[in-house]
């Protein structure tokens, strides 16, 4: 596309792209908060935020009131409120770690999006597919799993620094839950990666590779068990209901962020939603065919930018549906008890994940021995 010779130009352009990506993901996270409030309201027979408005846009006839009723301006008000509120720091906390924790929670959420592919462009000259991704690294999904589970450090650090028993219990639960479900998460993703890298192929852990392997059939249709395991594990990893152990507000006051207020709480909050956005995106890539339009109709778009935008929109639509699914489940299911979460993770999910993996290995070896040659 561009002939860039200067290193500075490349760095500048990459920084710009990264800035765009962060803005988009943070925007989706902010609007997920709105979606959460709206969907919960609708499910409970309420209306939800419908009063916040902006001076000029809100006074456009028809559109303005419609957007206001939809609560479109609410995230702006929420964000500004967090920004301008007084930030009280309790006396009994460890100041350094207390201030560090929200940052530690936020950074992994922002970092993982670097290796997240979100579409592809068909080059008009060479007819080759160029994936849209910030950093196309080979270890793709490993990087993602590694960094995203660092998010729990922010929670544990904040919980510990708060010097409060409820926060502390929230942090402990969170770390235990993260360790328990990380295993099932990895084991559930492995069969997908094995099938995406047939024997003899170069392969790799790249997510682009996984999406390309789903052009004829999406993984959710012929790996439903892996998809289910991965979905449950990702619910636990993102600390969402029914696994919202770290903040279980009925028994732990507010959980790990009990002592937090104003913008520091806002950072925890947005980080949580950014994790949900990223979790939905990863599930889309691994099991819902990524930016492939439909099974069998992978890329009917023309070459050039139109195809790039269209494939990105397909990817975004699937991700948004999954975000809705996250919210939907939260307002349907009650929370598990802590011991039930542990039991489900260690004595049900993990054995099933291992059996699923072994089964897939067996099928692949048999296929390789008798049919592939």
């Amino acid at each position: 596309m561009f002939e860039l010779t200067s290193l500075w130009q490349i760095i500048l352009l990459k920084t710009f792209f990264a800035f765009c990506m962060v803005s988009v993901v943070m925007g989706i996270a902010a609007y997920s908060v709105l979606a959460e409030r709206k969907v919960s309201s609708w499910i409970q027979g309420r209306i939800g935020p419908n009063r916040t408005t902006l001076p000029i846009i809100g006074s456009i006839p028809m559109i303005g009131p419609f957007l206001t009723r939809l609560g479109v301006f609410q995230p702006v008000a929420d964000g500004l409120k967090f920004l301008f509120k007084e930030e009280p720091v309790p006396k009994h906390v460890n100041k350094f770690y207390y201030n560090l924790a929200p940052v530690v929670a936020m950074v992994p959420a922002l970092t993982t999006m670097a290796v997240l592919p979100f579409g592809q462009i068909k080059d008009s000259v060479s007819s080759e597919y160029v994936p849209l991704i910030l950093a196309n690294v080979d270890i793709g999904i490993l990087f993602l799993f590694a960094i995203s589970s660092l998010g729990v450090y922010g929670i544990v650090l904040g919980a510990w620094a708060s010097n409060n028993k409820y926060s502390f219990m929230g942090g402990i639960r969170s770390s235990a839950q993260m360790i328990s479900y990380e295993l099932s998460l990895g084991l559930a993703a492995l069969p997908v990666l094995m099938w995406a890298n047939p024997p003899g192929a170069d392969g790799g852990m790249s997510l682009i590779n996984v999406v390309e392997s789903q052009q004829t059939i999406w993984n959710i249709f012929w790996q439903p068990l892996s998809a289910l395991l991965f979905l449950v594990a990702i619910f636990a990893e993102t600390n969402r209901a029914p696994f919202d152990m770290p903040e279980s507000e009925t028994d732990l006051v507010g959980g790990f962020h009990t002592e937090y207020g104003a913008f520091k709480f806002g950072m925890f909050f947005v980080a949580e939603y950014a994790h949900i956005v990223l979790g939905s995106a990863v599930f889309t890539l691994l099991f819902l065919g990524g930016w492939n339009l439909a099974p069998g109709f992978a890329f009917p778009w023309p070459s050039g930018y139109i195809g790039g935008v269209a494939s990105t929109l397909v990817f975004l639509a699937k991700t948004c549906f999954l975000i809705f699914f996250f919210i939907w489940v939260r307002w349907t299911l009650p929370r598990f008890r802590y011991d039930q979460v542990m039991k489900l993770g260690w004595s049900i999910l993990l054995p099933i994940a291992i059996v699923n993996l072994v089964l897939n290995i067996a099928i692949i070896s048999v296929w390789d021995l008798y049919f592939a040659s």
Partner: protein, 182 residues
Amino acid sequence: MPGKTKVLERKPLSLAERTYLPQIATGLKTTFKNLFSEKITRQYPEEQPPIPQGYRGVPTLVKDPNGREKCVSCQLCEFVCPPKAIRITPGELDDEGETAHVEKGPQEFEINMLRCIYCGLCQEVCPEEAIWLQNEFSLSGYTREEFINNKEKLYELGGTLPDEHFKWDKKKAAEEAGNPHH
């Protein structure tokens, strides 16, 4: 009563039930239906709640159809008021003109809405049907003084009661017929 208790047999859960997945799907279906159900929220300032008959809102003073004050400043409401929200300053009325046959009237009539408990005893006790509790329930202000309704404000809120008693007209007619102590 022994022998009447029927012990229900608890069937063991089937495999599908033990995974909880069908149940979760049913729950999701229920909440999804609720997404489109009719909303029960009332959009308050725009949509006012229905006021039932006999509602006790803000107490006000009313005038009779001739535009004269019905209140005769008997101070019964002041005495009966449990939180002592009412303060009446009785006054003399002109013997000539419009108020010629009116017995008495309040010079000043104050109801402190910060004290009022909306019990309606003032309305119940009033022999002249001069004080009425209205449907208005939402009061707001910035100072304590704003919440003390004076006579002017009370008549403004109360308006005219279209009753058919015409007490003062009857009194005038009786006086003209030579029977002043009607």
